[in-house]
C-alpha cells in the first residue's frame, strides 16, 4: 500500500532528478510558480509522471502532458492534461471511453492535488494506494 507520505517524498525526489539552476529549487516552489504565475507547469507535470515511474517501478510507461488551461473554456487556470500509455502493449490507460479523449485533465494547485494525481495514476496501474488518495 503506497502512502501519502511516500508519494510526497517521491515527488521531491523526482523533481530533484531534473532540477536545473535558475529554476524553482523544490517541487513545492515549482507548484507556487505554476499557481501564481502560470509558469513551470511542465516541471510540475514532469515531477508527477516521474514520481509515478519511481513508485510503480515501471520503465515502460510513456507520458504526454500539456498545459490545458489554454484550451479550457474561459481559460481556467492550473489545468494539466496527462496521457499515459503502456509502451509494451500500446494501451492508452487514460483513454476516456465516453468522450473518446486520450487524456485526463487534472487541476493541480496544491501538494494535495499533486499527491492525488500520482495516486490516481498508480491506481490505473493497479497499484494499491491509500483510499483517501483516490480521486
Amino acid at each position: 500500500m503506497i502512502t501519502r507520505e511516500r508519494i510526497a517524498k517521491a515527488l521531491e525526489d523526482a523533481f530533484n532528478n531534473f532540477y536545473h539552476a535558475g529554476e524553482p529549487a523544490t517541487f513545492e516552489d515549482a507548484l507556487c510558480h505554476w499557481t501564481e504565475f502560470g509558469c513551470c507547469g511542465h516541471l510540475v507535470a514532469a515531477a508527477i509522471t516521474k514520481a509515478v515511474d519511481i513508485l510503480s517501478g515501471r520503465i515502460d510507461l510513456a507520458w504526454y502532458h500539456d498545459d490545458w488551461s489554454f484550451n479550457a473554456p474561459d481559460e481556467e487556470p492550473n489545468l494539466i492534461a496527462f496521457i499515459l500509455v503502456d509502451a509494451r502493449t500500446r494501451e492508452c490507460l487514460t483513454l476516456d471511453a465516453v468522450r473518446q479523449t486520450p487524456h485526463v485533465v487534472l487541476r493541480i494547485e496544491t501538494m494535495d492535488d499533486a499527491i492525488a494525481a500520482v495516486g490516481y495514476f498508480l491506481s490505473l496501474l493497479s497499484i494499491a494506494v491509500e483510499e483517501e488518495l483516490l480521486l
Binding site: D60, A62, Y64, F70, R90, L95, P102
Partner: protein, 144 residues
C-alpha cells in the same frame, strides 16, 4: 489508394464548407497562413485535418481519440502541431514511437510541421497510414 490530390481536394472542400464566406473560396492554406501570421489558436486548421482523416478513412466519429497541441516557444507558435491518436475501440495508441533501447522513453505524440498546404496533406497521409489506409507516397518533383 488515396492520392495526395484527393487529400488536397478533401481538405479544401472541408475548409471551404466550414469557413468560406460563400463568395470567395477559402483554402486550408489560407487558414495556415492566418494562424502563423496572427498567432491565434488554429482551431480551423486542426479541425479540418481531423475531419479529413475521418472522411478519407471512413472511420466513425467515435472510433478515434485525439489529443492535439499546437506547439509554442516562449513567444509564439512554432508551426508544429503535436498529435496523439488512439484507436478508441482497442485503446491502442497509434502514434506511440518506441525506440531501440528499452530504457529509452517511448514517445506518445508525433509533432508535425503544418506551415503549408503540402504539410497539411502530409499530416493527413501520415494518420491514414497509421489507420492502415493505403496512401500515395510523396515523390519529390526533381526525382528521376
Amino acid at each position: 489508394m488515396i492520392t495526395r490530390e484527393r487529400i488536397k481536394r478533401t481538405l479544401n472542400e472541408i475548409y471551404n464548407a466550414e469557413y468560406g464566406d460563400g463568395e470567395n473560396e477559402a483554402t486550408i492554406g489560407d487558414g495556415i497562413t492566418f494562424w502563423l501570421q496572427n498567432c491565434e489558436y488554429p482551431f480551423d486548421v486542426i479541425e479540418t485535418i481531423v475531419e479529413a482523416v475521418y472522411e478519407l478513412s471512413g472511420k466513425p466519429r467515435n472510433a478515434l481519440g485525439w489529443h492535439i497541441e499546437p506547439l509554442r516557444d516562449e513567444w509564439s507558435y512554432t508551426g508544429e502541431i503535436a498529435f496523439v491518436l488512439v484507436d478508441a475501440e482497442s485503446g491502442r495508441c497509434l502514434t506511440l514511437q518506441r525506440f531501440d533501447r528499452p530504457e529509452t522513453e517511448a514517445c506518445i505524440a508525433v509533432a508535425l510541421p503544418i506551415t503549408t498546404e503540402e504539410e497539411a496533406i502530409d499530416a493527413v497521409a501520415h494518420f491514414l497510414r497509421l489507420l492502415g489506409v493505403p496512401v500515395e507516397e510523396c515523390v519529390p518533383e526533381n526525382a528521376s
